[in-house]
């Protein structure tokens, strides 16, 4: 059975639903506290899937994910890079995305380039929502056809079903320069976008999530782990019964990654 690592720490609070999503696709979730991992980074080698859950790590002091990223940059960045090199799919929703960006995991080196040995300075950021307010709602999303993300590539559904919930105050995707965004675009590293009419936070180019050049590491502001059963859908009481024969969009992402992990046998 696939083993999924879920990293918890002070203020992380979306670990349970992430574990349940992994369970639904046949992986066995294991929770490890950041403290334990920092003492034994090698523990990461035991897992075939990794999740950095959402929440408010360390209260999001200074900025969302800043403190957790700082604690992880030095000791854990190399261990995560090794996992990617081993072919392990990693998902980092919401606070996990904010952490992944600041600890140097995303967007990662350009295609074909090796990972730097120490964590690089971030070139993308998740800033305050344009409204400067936390917002909880469901938004329509789109998967770019050329994405190489193992979690999202090839997924599509009717627009009223291809939704994801968001709940964040600092999710506005920004980059140091337009060329960074163009680079991500041409390398297939834009993993998921908000629909044009449904960009909730002012993100550049409607970007909701990006992946590294290998497509394994996905960071995104929406929460696919909160859309795993049909009763999660915001208007499920309006959907026909026949819909239950298919799978909700959120859990499809986990299916894809689990499939990848199984076929790649990242052991």
């Amino acid at each position: 059975m696939l083993r999924a690592l879920i990293v918890t720490t002070a203020g992380i609070n979306c670990d349970q639903e992430l574990a349940e999503a992994f369970q639904l696709v046949g992986a066995e979730p294991h929770f490890l506290h950041l403290k334990t991992l920092l003492a034994k980074p090698k523990r990461i080698e035991q897992f075939e899937l990794i999740g950095l859950p959402g929440g408010f790590s360390y209260g999001d002091a200074v900025a969302a994910g800043r403190i957790a990223a700082q604690l992880m940059r030095r000791e854990l960045y190399p261990a995560f890079v090794k996992a990617v090199e081993r072919g392990v799919p990693i998902i980092a929703p919401c606070n996990g995305f904010q952490i992944a960006v600041q600890m140097g995991l995303l967007p990662g080196p350009a295609t074909g380039e090796p990972w730097p040995s120490v964590a690089p300075q971030p070139i993308v950021a998740l800033g305050d929502n344009q409204s400067a307010r936390i917002i909880d709602k469901w938004v329509e999303v789109q998967v770019p056809s050329q994405t190489r993300c193992v979690w999202t590539a090839g997924l599509s559904a009717d627009s009223h079903l291809q939704l994801l919930p968001i709940a964040h105050g600092e999710g506005r995707f920004m980059a140091t320069s337009p060329s960074v965004v163009q680079g991500l675009e041409s390398a297939g590293q834009i993993a998921i976008r908000y629909a044009d009419h449904d960009n909730p936070n002012g993100s550049t180019d409607n970007i909701a999530g990006i992946c590294d050049a290998s497509g394994l590491v996905l960071g995104l502001m929406p929460h696919p782990e909160r859309y795993t059963v049909w009763e999660h859908h915001p208007t499920w009481t309006r959907l026909p019964q026949s819909i239950r024969r298919s799978q909700p969009f959120g859990i499809q992402m986990f299916e894809k990654a689990a499939e990848h992990a199984r076929s790649a046998a990242v052991l």
């Binding site: 209260g59 200074v62 700082q70 909880d136 920004m174 909160r226 999660h232 915001p234 208007t235 009481t237």
Partner: protein
């Protein structure tokens, strides 16, 4: 190297835009439109004290404090700040600086996290303080300062500086030297006893002071300060609910049922009630249990009531108020309100896991002009209480998914903040008791001077000087600490049985009264010995009394057998939770013994503490109220479209989505029916539904009932509140036979017999309705003395306010129903009767002269429950496509909400509406009779509807159609749904 203080300012790069600055600008322009700056720039300020070089500090600034993509950091070495000027592009405009920094001793959670990150970066300990900087362009310093105190800072917790704040060194406390003070009370006369009670902030009555005097006289000693304080905390209204538990002598008529337990009629006709709470609210529950309700697992004895959820799990619910702290510091008050309620759930049985939160606010309308001195503006109160609940609930990862807001002028000096929390627990973890020899273990936050006298302060009446006198009663929470404590406690609870099982034998939270209440309650039957110096402190200088009664947040007390201490310590270490061993439960004479470095500083018998409070007789009366004069200027139908728009824009009806969307109501991934429903997410759900247990289709619905509009008839208000709560639950598909409810009484001072009489009436209503609906009360709380005395001696009393919160099983979540209309071609039916009575309605509040009959409609205690059960059967049989409670605003508002939530046109025809008397068209549309439901059903199912509803009054009152409008047959009434929707969304879209 000596310690110095560096200052760092972090501001957004110009390319990123200053979203926070713009938000503050919007806030300032809405709250003081007469004095608006041209622009507001913001920056975060960090003060870092340590033995650091400038290079090290630069690294901290670049790597921890500023984001390289979106921000720039400016570093000020010691002494640098004074010389630097504010930057502004427009050189001609004045720039006034405002800096807001927490006062010394006020919790600064961000600072603690930064200290941790710096320690990791440099392997070196530093001290950090944070603050916020605002540059107000185009305002004078005086104008800027007045804006600062109005909307940027609260002097209760903040210092406001008009220049860059850069101290040479942080203030620190001095070590405490022990002094044990005796308070000479044996010789005091009545007046001096009362003066002592008030001046020492004990807020005890004369009878209570005399009881203490007597008890000490018998022992021939004077009380020590810590003993008096312990008695005051434990005997406070907040902790012991002495008014609701008192003997009441009532004179006047008795509404409803004629026979109630614990009531005797004296020769002069007065009714004497022995323990009001026990004889009404609790009596109903115990009678229902005797009559066969077998799913109540724990009622009234624990921090929350527990009911059975399934074979393996119980669910518990608690609702608290945090009114007085929220009046002084709304953000911190509301945050610690929800934080405290969450701790109640963690402290229920042997710990429950919080899975949902609720919030209800009662405030004055935001446009209130006449705000008395000593009160904060109502809009600011609402914005900040929402912020407090948002930040605490979201950070804890608990979805806040049900609530409401009620606006009334008389909440201006005394807003109400109700916070609720629901938890789930294994059924074998529902009970716990401290055992002899168990260690007294405190987990979580450190103890500081914050929150001292919170319990006694909340039991007093607010006055215009309270902000100064009780600033120390205000606390700032740290949700992340509480989350860590929760994680550790659940791990200790679920410790595998081969490793000894649950590691503690009892648990409770440190709420009002701090350690004194928590340890005093847990050790009530066996005694406790406490070594106060062992409590970890935030800073030096606390006296043993302060440690004992501090209400510092995020602390839990556990009774832990000695053999489990090591394992618990491991769990705490792994979760970064501080654990301390305060002493031992159990001693020979059942005493509370308090020591400080081996010196005894206090000793009290548990008997005096818990049973010594004198039970006084309270006088209650109810005189016949004068009939209000009815109006004659009846509303005419040609105004109907405007009237509907007016009611949809009434603050008590309008959408609360501005609040709801700030709460993460999806966290934990268990939502089934969300607070907002319909294709555009605009529909106001009657209740929320979640799945407490992963993988199970059994659900839990959560709702509330609040009928403040009926306040002048408190008996009927209680009935209406319970009826509304039941309706809300039934409408989403909950099982009406499995509803449990909670009471929260918020009343003005009950020293006056008429006010006490109104409390008695409400309690009677609770008894009668709880029995009739077979909805047991499982927990409750009261907050009395909710009134405000202005500078000139005027007393503003809140309307008597009874909140009913309820939760219920949903047998199968896949059959839940939402309120948004689903399909054109379906018809709309109403179940329940409408009369001419306009009492309590929004239409009456809006057009007081327009109605002939202003009496309050009765709740029929036979028909109400029968209707709830019949509607529920209809829903479970699958014929109902949408269900909505018909309440605030009346039939037309409820029908409009269904139509615009589902974006489906509706043509109404109310000529066959089930009525009593001869209501006019306006009365039919705007009356707020209870026990009414609106249901969407298919034409072909009407026969089945008739079968299920039998003799109950019901009728088809409309058809959903292909239009985009709401129309009424017979008269020219036709209005686009989108117009109605925006009328409803606009008022609170802040």
């Amino acid at each position: 190297m000596t310690e110095v203080v560096y200052r760092v300012e972090v501001r957004p790069r110009s390319s990123s835009g200053d979203a926070r600055g713009e938000a503050v600008y919007r806030q300032v322009s809405s709250s003081s439109p007469e004095c608006v700056p041209q622009q507001i720039n913001t920056a975060s300020v960090f003060l870092v004290q340590g033995a650091l070089t400038t290079a090290q500090m630069q690294r901290i600034a670049d790597e921890i404090l500023a984001d390289p993509v979106t921000e720039v950091a400016t570093l000020f070495a010691p002494g640098d700040s004074a010389a630097s000027e504010s930057v502004n592009e427009d050189e001609h405009a004045t720039v006034s600086e405002i800096e807001v920094h927490p006062l010394p001793g006020v919790m600064d959670p961000d600072a603690q996290a930064v200290e941790l990150a710096i320690a990791s970066l440099l392997d070196q300990g530093v001290a950090v303080r944070t603050g916020r900087r605002f540059e107000l362009v185009g305002l004078s310093e005086t104008e800027a300062h007045s804006i600062a105190v109005r909307c940027l800072a609260n002097p209760v917790i903040h210092a406001v500086h008009t220049h860059r704040y850069h101290p040479e060194i942080f203030a620190s406390g001095a070590p405490y030297e022990l002094a044990v003070n005796h308070v000479a009370i044996s010789t005091l006369d009545e007046q001096s006893l009362l003066a002592l009670s008030r001046e020492a902030h004990l807020f005890l009555s004369l009878d209570e002071m005399k009881a203490i005097q007597q008890a000490y006289k018998q022992r021939g000693i004077e009380p020590r300060e810590i003993e008096l304080e312990t008695l005051a905390q434990t005997w406070s209204e907040h902790c012991v609910h002495k008014t609701l538990k008192s003997i009441v002598r009532y004179e006047g008529a008795m509404p409803g049922t004629k026979v109630r337990p614990g009531h005797t009629i004296e020769d002069d006709g007065a009714i004497v009630i022995d323990n009001l709470l026990k004889s009404t609210v609790a009596a109903a529950t115990h009678e229902l249990i005797d009559e066969g309700i077998d799913w109540c697992l724990s009622v009234f004895v624990d921090n929350a009531g527990i009911i059975a959820f399934d074979e393996d799990h119980g669910v518990c619910f608690k609702v608290e108020t945090h009114n007085h702290p929220s009046a002084l510091e709304p953000y911190g008050g509301a945050a610690t309100g929800i934080g405290g309620c969450i701790r109640d759930i963690i402290g229920t049985g042997l710990a429950a896991k919080p899975i949902a939160a609720t919030d209800v606010f009662c405030v004055a309308p935001p446009d209130t002009q006449d705000v008395p001195a000593g009160c904060l503006p109502p809009r600011r109160i609402l914005e900040q209480v929402v912020g407090g609940v948002r930040d605490y609930g979201n950070r804890m990862g608990i979805p806040t998914l049900n609530g409401t807001v009620w606006f009334d002028q008389n909440y201006v000096g005394n807003p109400l903040v109700f916070c609720g929390c629901v938890g789930v627990m294994p059924r074998d973890r529902c009970e716990g008791d401290a055992q002899l020899g168990d260690h007294i273990i405190a987990l979580g936050g450190r103890t500081g001077r914050d929150g001292i006298h919170g319990a006694t302060f909340s039991s007093a009446e607010l006055t215009d000087s309270h902000a100064d006198e009780f600033s120390h009663a205000v606390q700032i929470g740290n949700a992340v600490t509480e989350k860590q404590v929760l994680d550790a406690i659940l791990e200790a609870r679920d410790n595998p049985s081969e490793q000894g099982g649950c590691l503690f034998s009892a648990i409770t939270d440190c709420g009002a009264g701090g350690f004194s209440s928590a340890v005093g309650e847990m050790g009530e039957l066996i005694g406790a010995t406490v070594d106060l110096e062992r409590a970890p402190l935030k800073y030096d200088g606390l006296t043993p009394t302060e440690i004992w009664i501090s209400e510092a947040q995020e602390r839990m007390v556990l009774a832990v057998p000695k053999k489990n201490l090591a394992r618990l310590q491991e769990i705490c270490d792994a979760n970064d939770v501080e654990m301390c061993d305060l002493g031992v439960f159990g001693n020979q004479n059942r005493e509370l013994i308090l020591r400080y470095h081996n010196t005894e500083v206090g000793r009290l018998s548990m008997q005096l503490l818990h049973e010594g409070i004198p039970n006084t007789v309270r006088h209650a009366s109810w005189s016949k109220k004068e009939e209000e004069v009815s109006g004659t200027a009846f509303r005419q139908p040609d105004h109907l479209v405007d009237d509907l728009r007016t009611l949809l824009s009434d603050l008590n009806v309008a959408s609360k989505q501005w609040i709801i969307r700030q709460y993460d109501h999806e966290v934990q991934g268990r939502s089934v029916v969300k607070p907002l429903v319909g294709p555009d997410g605009n529909g106001p759900s009657d209740a929320a539904v979640i799945r407490p247990v992963a993988g199970s289709d059994r659900g839990l619905a959560i709702a509330n009932g609040l009928a403040v509009g009926w306040s002048k008839d408190p008996y009927m208000m209680a009935l209406a509140g319970i009826d509304e709560c039941v309706r809300n639950l039934v409408c989403v598909g909950a099982d009406p036979a499995r509803i449990a409810i909670l009471d929260n009484f918020c009343w003005p001072s009950c020293d006056e017999s008429e006010t006490m009489g109104s409390l008695v009436h409400a309690a009677w209503g609770c008894y009668d309705a709880s029995k009739a609906y077979r909805t047991p009360f499982i927990s409750g709380k009261d907050s009395l003395h909710n009134q405000f005395t202005t500078e000139d001696g005027r007393t503003i009393r809140i309307p008597a306010t009874l909140l009913i919160s309820g939760f219920s099983l949903v047998q199968d979540v896949t059959s839940c129903v939402t309120m948004d209309a689903k399909r054109a071609g379906h018809c709309l039916i109403i179940v329940g009767q409408t009369t001419t009575q306009m009492g309590g309605s929004r239409a009456l509040a809006r057009w007081p002269d327009a109605w002939a009959d202003t009496s309050i409609p009765e709740v029929d205690l036979k028909q109400g429950p029968a209707t709830a059960h019949a509607v529920s059967t209809l829903i479970t049989s699958g014929v109902v496509h949408a269900a909505h409670d018909c309440s605030d605003g009346g039939l037309l508002v409820a029908a409009a909400e269904m139509a615009f939530a589902g974006d489906i046109g509706l043509r109404l025809d109310v000529s066959d509406l089930p009525i009593e008397g001869t209501p006019s068209l306006h009365e039919r549309l705007f009356a707020e009779n209870p026990s009414r439901y609106l249901l969407e059903v298919a034409q072909e199912d009407l026969d089945r509807v008739q079968t299920h509803l039998g003799d109950l009054p019901w009728a088809v009152i409309g058809n959903f159609d292909e239009t985009t409008a709401l129309s009424l047959s017979d008269i020219s009434f036709n209005v686009e749904l989108k117009e109605l929707r925006s009328a409803w969304l606009a008022p609170l879209e802040w």
